[in-house]
Symmetry: C2
Subunit: 369 residues, 2 copies
């Protein structure tokens, strides 16, 4: 966690009128508020007068929820039953448990050159050595961390070569599918869990497809690690929230989740298209990566510059973004990069956000402050 960036993001979140292109938040207008409220009412009218949805539960979590998750993974070809699923406090906890079970300080972990910052923070906090997949050939990583379907921040799926490499390897794979169901083409990625069941730690979440506020994710560890992973879950926080799981299970029992996914994919694809067009028109010299899904657009430049100084100037001009440095596996001074999220600002503000960014950029504040 970079203190200066954290401070700037908090400033930007408070500023009225600022167009927020940072943070990777889902569109709050897509949260099914009424249906979740109705699900709570149903949970409270259960056979025990709703006591169980507010009570302690077992560490592995809600059985109906685990059954739902297992059925969806099984439908994609994985050998998964409800007993294999551990409900977690978001995908982040699933990553933290997998990491705690797989690696010790000093161990090597194979991570893409650009990756999810909270995973990088987690790995660094555990004192792991972050190596590239080509370095990994020589240093026996404890695991590869990948985001099939849609990687954060690059927005693209794993290449066929990368998949072949992962499946040809023998070390563990932590497959984080946080955004996989939000590929704009609706094509779910091949499930690594289906091909390498005994060394894949599958991570999923409802934070991107439904809402983050429930804090419900899940982990499917290899069967040989299930008991140890469950003990680690219990040590960490006993169990995921009973109420959140109960609301979610009741919601899923009546919701057409695939229809929901189809609908929100179109909305995010439309937003992404608008942001990409605005960026390409405004910054013709930048490499604007067309995302295949998810919430953001990854932009690289050949221009030297200080992304934090640029963020500082951008906030003054009424727009925010995520500085590229937080996504870098290795600190890499020099060329400017940034992640811009299309997911939560009003869609009609995206072009104006890019125009404000252009003004901040033109102000020269991208050079070191």
């Amino acid at each position: 966690v970079d203190v200066a960036i954290d401070r700037l993001q908090r400033v930007s979140a408070r500023r009225t009128g600022l167009i927020g292109l940072a943070g990777g938040l889902p569109d709050a207008s897509l949260f099914p508020r009424t249906a979740l409220h109705a699900a709570f009412a149903r949970a409270l009218s259960g056979s025990d007068e709703g006591g169980s949805c507010l009570q302690y539960d077992w560490p592995e979590g809600s059985q109906p929820l685990r059954r739902w998750i297992a059925a969806r993974l099984a439908a994609r070809g994985a050998d998964v039953s409800e007993g294999d699923v551990i409900v977690t406090s978001g995908a982040q906890q699933a990553l933290a448990i997998a990491t705690s079970q797989l690696a010790r300080p000093g161990d090597a972990v194979d991570v893409d050159e650009r990756a999810y910052p909270a995973a990088l923070d987690l790995f660094r906090g555990r004192e792991l050595r972050l190596v590239s997949s080509s370095e990994a050939r020589w240093c026996a990583p404890r695991f590869s961390y990948v985001m099939p379907g849609v990687a954060n921040p690059t927005g693209v799926g794993l290449s066929p070569e990368r998949i072949v490499d992962l499946l040809a390897g023998t070390h563990a794979i932590v497959a984080d599918e946080a955004y996989a169901e939000l590929r704009f083409d609706g094509a779910l990625p091949p499930l690594l869990l289906a091909s390498a069941r005994d060394r894949t730690w599958h991570v999923g979440t409802f934070s991107k497809t439904l809402c983050p506020g429930l804090r419900v994710g899940f982990l499917v560890p290899p069967r040989s690690h299930r008991a140890a992973a469950l003990a680690a879950k219990q040590d960490a926080d006993l169990q995921a929230g009973t109420l959140a799981q109960s609301i979610l299970a009741h919601f899923l029992s009546v919701d057409d989740f695939d229809a929901r996914l189809e609908r929100i994919r179109k909305i995010y694809a439309d937003r992404a298209g608008q942001l990409v067009r605005a960026l390409r028109q405004t910054f013709p010299s930048f490499r604007v990566h067309e995302p295949e899904g998810g919430f953001s657009v990854w932009v690289e430049t050949d221009a030297p510059g200080d992304d934090v100084a640029l963020l500082h100037a951008a906030i003054k001009h009424g727009v925010s973004f995520d500085p590229g440095r937080v996504f870098h596996r290795s600190p890499e001074p020099g060329a400017l990069s940034l992640r811009l999220c299309h997911s939560s600002a009003p869609i009609t503000d995206l072009a104006e956000g890019v125009a404000r960014l252009a003004k901040a950029f033109a102000s020269g504040a991208r050079s070191s402050a």
Copy 2:
């Protein structure tokens, strides 16, 4: 986690008609279901149409909730403001974060001879050496883990001598107040945080006083450790559940929490009294410790026996309890001990539960299976 005990507890939870004296669950009939449902409705009718209660939040958690927590601690004499409080996924996560910040594998930790099993599991999982407070004088523990007010499982507060010792020391104190507000006399224990602010890690929770299903606890670390503790929280699961915190904050803004505490203290005191009387009448040779608060009664015997074999027999006779061994800092074969919870079984079943236990005990099944 003992696999055999876990299996037995799961069997007993499913058995119809069984009187559950295991697990330390609060009385579900005391959960304010209607008020929590109303709080959800208010959260959803917020200025942003309830989007924020389902969205991501900052890792430290809800500001109104932290303000409420800080005010209560400040009223007890501690120098605590909302910025000092980190909302956690239950008290267990607060313990896990404190432990991760204070101790490394091989380090010594000062723990009572009888202690909360999930803390013991956590410490053992982190490969810490568990030592007594007298051993601690010689081996420089990284911290003392204590439960002021009401210890689990013994049900009593810290002795004045222990408090003097802790305050005379220089190492960190992890003060777990999970049950402190449930002292039957309503006398809150002296706040170690008020006397040793710079080395006390204060842990609290709403799981016992309100309901566990929200999974909301909190940690107040020393100010010098606040940033690192917050980073550890973020690495662990990004944040506690936004919805649960929002429901809780709305609930607390209208609830008379002290009146609630007074009411439920009386109910639990009454239950504890009934259980203690039944145990003393039925097992006159056992040491039945009169609890000063909380959910359970701690029983020690001079009789040799296998508590797991006794649990097995007890379940056959229609009652459950927690085998004493899981509360022991050091494995201690020999004399039988057990924890019996009065908190969640119908109060009218407590005497019958003890009668069933007597039958199981008389069956001789307490000796090793």
